[in-house]
Symmetry: C2
Subunit: 556 residues, 2 copies
């Protein structure tokens, strides 16, 4: 299965490295100073994000994922990260949702070994070639050299398919549909970024076998729709469904379908998840055949799919929804959906009043939990309410409820939305219904905002000279394209900026990254600007005729 974690462009490498250093430094400083401030001294600014998303997006991203406690850099070995509870909760909600759906489809869970032998690797050279430079090799156990080194799986085709050959003995054994949740290792040489490109990442990999192309193809799309569901329904992120071009498809596969996302802050596209039809390529390499039920005595190679979704999704979620205050979590994947913060309690509050207040807050929390809301209350001592507000905003909790003696007197709770900052009050008696409703509203509004942004920045372009300005305006573009691989390579070259003076300061430079094809959207624009086989390909140097509208963009 191909890289859910994609190479970033070397042009951004330096900036990202600097950003990482800056973020680490800032995080360290914050850690030192973010101790409780007893006595009410405000420390609000210290714990916040120090870089603006608009001004330095890579540095902002690094700071957000670190300071919100989503990840920790693994100091011991570079390129590895610790996923902390906030991030793991998102992943575990995705896992629950996706598992439920594929179980219904009849996909079973398995667990194959972590290692693959050099022998299996040799069987499928096309596929392996792309992974070879990133394979981690175990050569020793204890103090003894292994007779034959073994590689850690970068993906499990070569681990699993020898068994498909063994297990599939008749068409009655089809479809065989297996999925595993695990981690894979790809020892990237390039700069790594939390979630987006890491040397180890969590994912699920599904590997299935079918009797016919049609049955395989049907599943490819069912799975792609589930991947779209993870983005749209859980992460409140819009995606475009489509097919990869030949250049961008999975090495060794037949065709690749994909959901493509969009990062408004820099206008880059990002691959969301891919569902591949492998055709009969692997079944030929691994000798996976059955007797054709239509033609007794004839053997046919099975049709295979593989499909994967990785923790990269969390990175996309952070990049799209986050703001200058930190993380913004969609309610459906937030570990804490609503945080209750007691206010108006101070040194002059009597112990009795304090106790009564605690009981009221606790009763609200219980009501919310009963209503299915993941609610918590923040009773940490020595922190001001303002400090707590900032802290939970940094961590992206979708809804804050403030509750003080004044609210109690009016029998209301005060709330504040993380996504919009909007504030209001609810009668205490209605929190059990109003809060779940508001969380759903937040979820929808977050999706709608992101969807509008992607829609507005997906431009239909019919003149070559409009391409670069559109990219510079943070758009991805839909262009009439001939689908030829060489033309695609040339388009990338033509859109790579090389004419700036290298000594220009960074903030005066325009992005130099060329655009690549993101997908051939299933949903093709209508109108008569593209008549397949007649309209010219947009590349001015290309003699070919356009076949499809293809989405191109600067991308991760």
């Amino acid at each position: 299965m191909d890289g859910a974690v994609e190479p970033s462009k070397s042009a951004l490498k330096k900036a990202e490295k600097q950003a990482k250093l800056a973020a680490e430094k800032a995080a360290k400083a914050a850690k030192k100073t973010a101790r409780p401030v007893v006595g009410g001294k405000k420390a609000d600014d210290i714990i916040g994000i120090t870089v603006s998303k608009a001004e330095n997006f890579p540095a902002w991203y690094q700071e957000v994922v670190l300071k919100s406690d989503m990840v920790e850099y693994y100091q011991e070995i570079s390129g590895f990260f610790v996923l902390r509870p906030l991030a793991m909760h998102v992943w575990s909600e995705i896992r629950k949702w996706f598992s439920g759906h594929i179980e219904e489809m009849g996909v079973d869970e398995v667990s194959f070994p972590l290692f693959l032998s050099a022998k299996s690797l040799e069987k499928e050279k096309d596929h392996v070639e792309g992974f070879a430079p990133e394979l981690a090799w175990v050569t020793k156990a204890g103090d003894k050299d292994l007779e034959v080194p073994v590689a850690i799986r970068p993906t499990s085709e070569a681990v699993m398919y020898p068994y498909y050959s063994k297990w599939i003995r008749s068409h009655r054994d089809l479809p065989l549909r297996l999925n595993q949740w695990n981690s894979v290792v790809r020892w990237e040489a390039k700069q790594t970024t939390p979630f987006l490109r890491t040397r180890e990442f969590l994912w699920q990999e599904g590997h299935t076998a079918h009797l016919t192309e049609e049955l395989a193809g049907k599943e490819v799309l069912e799975i792609l729709e589930l991947y779209a569901g993870v983005y749209e329904q859980l992460l409140a992120l819009p995606v475009v469904r489509g097919t990869k071009t030949e250049n961008e498809k999975f090495a060794g596969g037949y065709y690749t379908t994909t959901v493509e996302g969009y990062v408004p802050a820099n206008g880059r596209g990002i691959q969301g998840a891919t569902s591949h039809c492998l055709g009969q390529n692997f079944s030929k390499m691994f000798d996976i055949t059955v007797e054709d039920p239509q033609n007794k005595g004839q053997h046919v190679h099975v049709w295979q799919n593989s499909w994967g979704l990785s923790t990269r999704v969390i990175g996309v979620m952070v990049m799209v929804h986050g703001d200058d205050k930190g993380l913004v979590l969609p309610p459906r994947v937030a570990k804490i959906q609503t945080i209750l913060i007691p206010v108006g309690i101070n040194k002059s509050t009597t112990p009795e009043d304090r106790k009564k207040h605690e009981e009221q807050v606790d009763s609200i929390r219980k009501t919310l939990r009963k209503a299915g809301v993941r609610a918590d209350s923040d009773w940490r001592e020595g922190y001001t309410p303002a400090w707590k507000f900032n802290d939970w905003e940094l961590k992206g909790v979708p809804l804050r409820i403030e509750f003080g003696p004044k609210d109690a007197a009016k029998e209301v709770v005060s709330w504040a939305r993380r996504d919009t900052g909007e504030k209001g009050v609810f009668p205490i008696a209605e929190v059990g219904t109003k809060v779940p409703e508001l969380l759903e509203t937040i979820q929808k509004d977050m999706y709608n905002k992101a969807e509008a942004s992607f829609r507005e920045h997906r431009l239909k372009i019919t003149k070559w000279e409009d391409v670069l300005p559109a990219l510079d305006d943070k758009n991805v573009v839909l262009i009439p394209f001939c689908l030829d691989g060489k033309c695609e390579d040339r388009i990338k070259e033509l859109t790579t900026r090389v004419d700036e003076h290298p000594d220009l300061p960074d903030n005066q430079k325009l992005p130099s990254m060329g655009m690549k094809s993101l997908c051939i959207p299933f949903d093709q624009p209508t109108g008569d600007e593209l008549v397949p086989g007649e309209t010219a390909c947009l590349n001015p140097e290309c003699k070919g005729k356009a076949q499809k509208w293809v989405m191109f963009g600067r991308s991760y």
Copy 2:
């Protein structure tokens, strides 16, 4: 965390190796012949287990886990196994149950990297010494040598605790309770056995930090009780709760609690899962301190626990419940709880009657699913009902429902229990209530049977000369013991049989394995045979006084 997968004894090695070969051969033969037999020719005997559990337990075990499709040997690299859907379902039910409970306790999910650096390893030498010979070392990435080799985690103390030191900055950060579900690698030199000892296995590892010994100790027992729950409530297996002796506790820890199981077929004890209090040993090595809230300015080292449960549990389940027909699954963890098998349909059945019958079976299946039963129907063509009965018995499905035109006429379904073979009928109208009830009965009966067997084979022994005969009668023993480590070693030597003629055929030899301590049961026998500090230790050579009843046995 210590080995959930324990070394077996070399005395059994040869027998096990032979058994494995025999099982593989038998499985291969079965695969070749177990094709559908069109026309009704019976092939019942071929797919079954060919070795008797009583006569050759190791070979029986290997056959059962292979033929029931629980595991597959990973041919490419020895010591590794593929966990197939039947086994993964058991694991996933355990994961769901255990996750739910620890979440309620406030334990959060994390994911730390697969690798640990040589530097971290050096920090905790006592602990690491035991793992060093089994560490798998990555020395190359692609075709380049790594500057510093990295080891694959055999357990994650050394991976995680540097971050505990970083994250725990105040007593307000306590308790810190993290858990991860992953796989670990221990490159065993000894003979491996599916589930029981494998070079990679799945587990959960919990790592927590607390302010006081008391708080840590409370959690150790809460977790141990959950482990007992996995065995007793899900797997229908009895366990004895207790503390490990100094000899058997986790290297580097403070004390280890354990749940110990029992395998009736060979009378061996087996460690079920362990919950360790690490004391302050690791917090001293990794510098994990907080300011003492009771004594400002004073720093104290935190108290830590670690606890783990591995896929070994599945092996124990197979060994205890399985029989000569194959696997017997407790309903709560069975992937298919009830299998519906249409009977009485043959060549003379009209298409209309067949269709009507199909609809009836499908309606029963739907009723069962609605009632929360994992039910499936077996419509495979070309197999006789008898073949199907055997096949599902082999795979351990707890309840079979047969349904034919005669049943339909009487408006009943016929059922057969996998555990006891008992048969009966239910009115069709009542399947939605009767089947879930019967499944619960099966679950309870399986537990009660196993519990009675363990209870009857846990003998209180007060004379040394009764020890060996008790072991030979497949018992574990409770003996008055001084708790001294050297005495424990000596007991093992004294109970190791060395006096048989080496040329005796295997079937005339008695087991030679010496006994080791399994645990100091929390639930100590009553009666006056043991007065702590007065009664003599049972070891005739020991001058010490007994402190506790300790459970000893031949063991895995």
